[in-house]
């Protein structure tokens, strides 16, 4: 498995993907820095009761849409590497099982986005410190949930995007569906709890209902990952 990932990462050399992985979380943190910078005194008074908590809410409100967008774009870029010169026929004819090839594609996408998530978390801590919040008061558990919890509960979204991007060579299709999904998720994010079953809501719901959102995300994500694998294994290539 290590070799498949090494091969996938080698294919990303000199690619824009790396720029996206860094610019996404950096942009989110920069926007929040601007937000706090412009009305520092007002916000500090407003958030005095729980400065870290409010910072996390602010960051993750921007981070989740950015993460969903990143899942759409990066899945598409990773799959495009093979679609461009139909390298699938070369890759699939190598002595590697298709299940593992698909896992490699999913794995490299997930790792890149986990990297972005980690950068966002580090950025949040740095921004908090810069704003004068005390490190001792940092609620680690809430922070991890706001960051990696969002990622876990967005797994169904990622699994669907990887599946579509790999299965359909015309990347307009997965990109359109991904962006439509993002719109839906922003639409339902403040919706009533009767809509909590909607996967698009989970990445936003995770701060209020961490266990539910993460477990539902993980299980639903696994289902879509499995469906994607089965489809890829049976697919005619070439």
């Amino acid at each position: 498995m290590g070799n498949i990932l090494a091969s996938e990462f080698l294919k990303l050399r000199r690619k824009m993907v790396w720029f996206l992985v860094v610019i996404g979380p950096t942009g989110v943190i920069a926007l929040q820095a601007l937000n706090y910078g412009l009305r520092f005194d007002f916000l500090m008074k407003q958030y005095a009761s729980d400065p870290w908590g409010y910072l996390m809410i602010n960051v993750s409100n921007l981070l989740v849409p950015a993460l969903l967008m990143g899942m759409t774009i990066i899945s598409s870029m990773i799959a495009s590497l093979e679609h461009q010169t139909n390298a699938w026929k070369q890759t699939v004819a190598l002595p590697v099982g298709r299940t593992r090839l698909y896992l490699g594609k999913f794995g490299v996408t997930a790792l890149l986005l986990l990297g972005s998530t980690t950068l966002a978390m580090v950025g949040t801590i740095l921004l908090g410190l810069l704003l004068g919040h005390e490190l001792e008061a940092l609620p680690w558990k809430s922070l991890l949930i706001a960051m990696y919890g969002s990622f876990l509960s967005a797994l169904p979204y990622l699994a669907v995007q990887v599946w579509l991007s790999v299965a359909i060579s015309n990347q307009a299709v997965p990109l359109t569906i991904g962006i439509a999904g993002l719109v839906v998720s922003i639409f339902v994010l403040n919706g009533p709890s009767s809509l909590d079953w909607l996967p698009w809501k989970w990445p936003f719901l995770v701060r209020a209902e961490p266990m539910y959102s993460m477990v539902a995300g993980l299980l639903t994500g696994a289902v879509f990952y499995l469906l994607g694998t089965i489809h890829f294994v049976r697919k005619d290539v070439g």
Binding site: N3, I4, A6, S7, L10, K11, R13, R14, K15, L81, Q84, T85, N86, A87, W88, K89, Q90, T91, V92, A93, L94, P95, V96, G97, R234, D236, V237, G238
Partner: protein, 306 residues
């Protein structure tokens, strides 16, 4: 050496949209052969090759490589196979070494030094550090062949390897392929819609049209089927014809030209000497080169390109 049959298909069929693109194909390819897989465009060559590599599943029938069914041991069997299907696949933003490294990582037991070896085999060493998107088609094709050779395969499957190449590229690849069984002991399956091209490389030929295999034998047998004739250009053809017949040589006039059957050099030399000694002006003695092509055209029903 377990078996001498490297590729064997039994009743291989692929139905796409209700049409049998490949129809009950029984291929048999022996070790060490260069097998020319011929047919007009759209005859089902590429589809067959995709099934050989497990890229596509047959609708019915079976593919056996090295005596084992590909359905069951695909991954283990593919380790011994190198392939280039249709136009080459590559990652344009990577250089040749990086391209090959992405493949090497997935081939168990292939050392890094092998990349330099295959690059020198296809003569890309000089351009190895350039990004592949700047390569000419011929160079990309050669990179594809390098990729196919990377795992030191026992079987090389090349689909239209000289497609889109210029004459010098074609000659280069032809020489490369021709030297392979001798130098590396491998078996080569080579598809093409050009008989003239395969005729210069292959030892064994299979001809497929409309998904059906209509000929499979040694190239010599195919050549034997073509009525090779020698065209003799001279001034008085009628007189030449009667002279030849009088001296016991077979000859015929067709379309105002004089033909004698292909034969050993001595007999042709004797004919020419006799004609010249009789005072006839012999201006041309040439082999009717197209007859192999016409056999092919005839077999494939005269359709499609050559």
């Amino acid at each position: 050496m377990m078996t001498d049959i490297v590729i064997e298909t039994k009743g291989l069929t692929k139905t796409i949209g209700g049409r049998n693109v490949v129809d009950k194909l029984d291929l048999k390819i022996k070790r060490g052969e260069i097998y020319g897989f011929l047919g007009p465009n759209g005859a089902g060559k590429t589809t067959t090759i995709r099934m050989l590599l497990g890229l596509t599943k047959p609708s019915s029938g079976e593919v056996r490589l090295f005596g084992k069914s590909i359905g069951k041991e695909r991954v283990a069997l593919l380790r011994k196979v190198g392939s280039l299907v249709e136009y080459p696949s590559y990652y344009g933003h990577l250089n040749a070494i990086e391209n090959l490294e992405t493949i090497r990582l997935l081939l168990p037991g292939v050392k890094k030094s092998r990349i330099d070896e295959v690059l020198s085999i296809v003569r890309l060493t000089k351009d190895a550090k350039r990004m592949v998107k700047g390569y000419s088609l011929g160079m990309k094709q050669r990179l594809g062949i390098a990729a196919a050779l990377l795992g030191e395969p026992e079987l090389l499957i090349l689909d239209e390897p000289t497609n889109g190449l210029d004459p010098s590229g074609i000659i280069e690849i032809r020489e490369l392929i021709r030297s392979m069984p001798a130098r590396y002991g491998l078996t080569v399956l080579l598809s093409s819609h050009l008989l003239s091209e395969v005729g210069q490389m292959a030892t064994e030929v299979g001809i497929v049209t409309k998904g059906k295999l209509i000929f499979q034998d040694q190239l010599e047998v195919l050549k034997g089927r073509s009525k090779q004739q020698i065209h003799i250009g001279l001034d008085d053809r009628q007189r030449a014809l009667s002279l030849l017949h009088a001296n016991g040589f077979k000859a015929e006039l067709s379309g105002g030209s004089l033909y004698v059957p292909q034969g050993d050099d001595k007999r042709i030399a004797a004919i020419v000497r006799m004609l010249v000694q009789q005072g006839l002006e012999v201006s041309r003695v040439e082999e009717q080169g197209d007859s192999l092509e016409s056999v092919f055209l005839h077999m494939t029903g005269g359709e499609g390109e050559l």
